[in-house]
Subunit: 383 residues, 2 copies
């Protein structure tokens, strides 16, 4: 594994994962909590102060000695069912399934779940999977063995494919499971299905590596951690990945939004821009007329570096130019006709865009995340 | 009741409720769906095309004749329990309680539920209350009798008081119930409590009036609607209201953010800015240094007009100038010291701000919402 550097970053955690496999992580605002991110949100926290398990009546109680409120009742043994989270262990004892009702505020203008909601469901079920497994040390999914070894997870890749967006009030099941990724990595997959029919609405996969929170080095998976998590690994892929390197855009990209500044409400608990904001920034570069007629079918994200509250971000976007996807470098966007909009995927080739978010500084730019999105025509509006 | 006017607003619903009790509502993008809003989000929809009840296996199925997907399985009789939504009827058969786990993406930088999440819970439980009551015609909470009379709800006032923000993973119960408000209005209240201890975390109340979606006039409550909903009314107040008129700010306000433009993801299904965005715009006018040390204790909103996707908005904010809340018209914001930050409310007077969001046009400005916020010092950070 390559070395990791720790610049003095007092109020921010910065995490980059370059092609050369270098990882850099600064020091978090809360100095007892060092955290990696899950596709831009916080992912794994190893909180050294909280190694002890504190069984208590409440999930969150006031610790009278310190006046701080902490998460409690973290299971120390595998739970088969979590009635509050409507979760259960499936897949022969290693997978996790959670029933979720699409809430009124989780849908967009067309009454179907937003991409943001789907990404949130992925994060939530991943964390709840670790919660019910009995392996959770504390925080964002680090196991007891990881906490002992000062290890945290870092996400490097995320892919989500949406065949159909569930509608308001629909009951869906989110299944998630993990598997090996190479020798020292982990793959986490998800399926989102109709609770009633079992129809698959969405599939997702992600790749994770482990790093030492103190040395900032990528780490091999220690045997005690392997012993904890490998019994949960299964060989099952939600998406058959087609390894594809996302090309880096430059300032010749067709659509560019500059001077993007995170707002207070865009930040997560590490005071970093969360993933949903990343995706929103990416998609806001696409012309409105296109977004009205098309819906996202696939998004692939390659994470490079975290974005902090004081960063200024530039979003670049380039439509594919080949074949049906563009004409002479200019994407051909037609206002969809009512008769053309069906519920089934269109037979025409989907349209694709390449994306880049980068931090723009005085002297240099730094990549945050590269992305690829593929789109298909929207089904008819829901009445 | 005063008259209502319907300006030709092809792509937007505009709804104003002035002091003179005039309501104006334009025509929605989807011309079969006319909708009022619940504190800025969509509130009540009367969809004339969907009066029929369609029992079906799924909450959302493809109607093969039209290729549209619609909400189905809407209960036609009162349900005592909704296992998917983790809801149940309480309060002697007229109140609704829903158990909610605070999810990982519903918390902010301090690991406690965001104001946005709490406001979302209020909307969701209100709609689910109507859902389980068996009274839901379709859409956003209109009863069968309201649909027959082309009536929709319009929210005029909303108040939320937060004693304690629940933390990530905490299990809370949201109770909601309705009561009479004057002769023709309705009050809806909420309590958010710890599932384990019963401790009240937050209280909220709101006021609603009924209007005819076609004539755009405020309406008396028809007897058939009164017969439907009055059996659900109880005399119980979550907050003892202290009627207070929020003064209108002008351009002499201390903090002003201008040229605010809604983004695509800020819009709800009526292509209007949703309430959470309103609140965010309001709070973003407050200096960052203040927001770091204080948390919102009370917010009161008086709704005047909806904000559409093409509007340009100005947010005005004025700190209170009297007593402990300010010095010579300038709010005195100190960086809170660690020793001063406790979990209990501070004994010092809370700080207050007055807010106004208005649409700025070429010739005139139009009020969207007036607000008042009160703040207290934050408890210590959660580890």
């Amino acid at each position: 594994m390559d070395s990791l550097h720790c610049p003095a970053a007092r109020f921010s955690i910065t995490c980059s994962y370059s092609r050369e496999h270098k990882l850099r992580i600064g020091v978090g605002r809360f100095n007892r909590i060092v955290t990696a991110k899950m596709h831009g949100r916080i992912l794994i926290t190893a909180d050294k102060s909280s190694r002890r398990m504190v069984p208590a009546a409440s999930m969150a109680e006031v610790d009278s000695s310190t006046k701080t409120r902490i998460r409690q009742n973290i299971p120390t043994e595998k739970q088969l069912v979590d009635r509050f989270r409507q979760g259960m262990i499936v897949e022969g004892g290693v997978g996790y399934r959670q029933t979720v009702v699409i809430r009124s505020y989780e849908v967009g203008a067309d009454k179907t779940a937003t991409l943001e909601s789907l990404l949130n469901f992925l994060q939530e079920t991943a964390l709840n999977h670790v919660w019910v497994s009995g392996l959770l040390g504390d925080g964002f999914g680090a196991t007891h063995g990881m906490v002992r070894n000062n290890l945290i997870w870092v996400v490097t890749r995320m892919q989500l494919q949406v065949d159909k967006y569930p509608i308001w009030g629909e009951v869906v099941e989110v299944d998630t499971w993990v598997g090996a990724s190479g020798k020292n990595g982990m793959r986490r997959d998800w399926l989102i299905r109709s609770h009633v029919t079992g129809q698959v609405f969405a599939r997702a996969t992600s790749t994770w590596v482990m790093m030492n929170q103190q040395t900032r080095r990528l780490s091999k998976m220690p045997e005690e951690v392997r012993a904890e998590i490998s019994p949960w690994f299964i060989e099952k892929n939600a998406i058959q990945e087609t390894p594809e390197t996302i090309k880096k855009l430059d300032n010749t990209a067709k659509y560019i939004n500059s001077q993007l500044k995170p707002k207070r409400t865009d930040l997560d608990m590490n005071h970093h821009v969360n993933n949903v904001k990343y995706v929103n920034w990416m998609l806001e570069t696409i012309p409105e007329i296109f977004l009205e007629g098309y819906q996202l079918f696939n998004i692939t994200l390659e994470y490079r570096k975290e974005c902090g509250s004081s960063d200024t971000v530039q979003a670049l976007c380039q439509p594919d130019e080949d074949g049906a996807q563009g004409v002479n470098g200019k994407i051909h966007i037609e206002q969809p006709q009512a008769s053309e909009i069906g519920d089934a995927p269109s037979s025409e080739s989907p349209l694709s865009f390449t994306h880049l978010l980068q931090i723009t500084g005085d002297s240099k730019t730094e990549e945050i995340v590269r992305g690829r999105t593929t789109w298909k025509r929207k089904p008819k509006a829901i009445h």
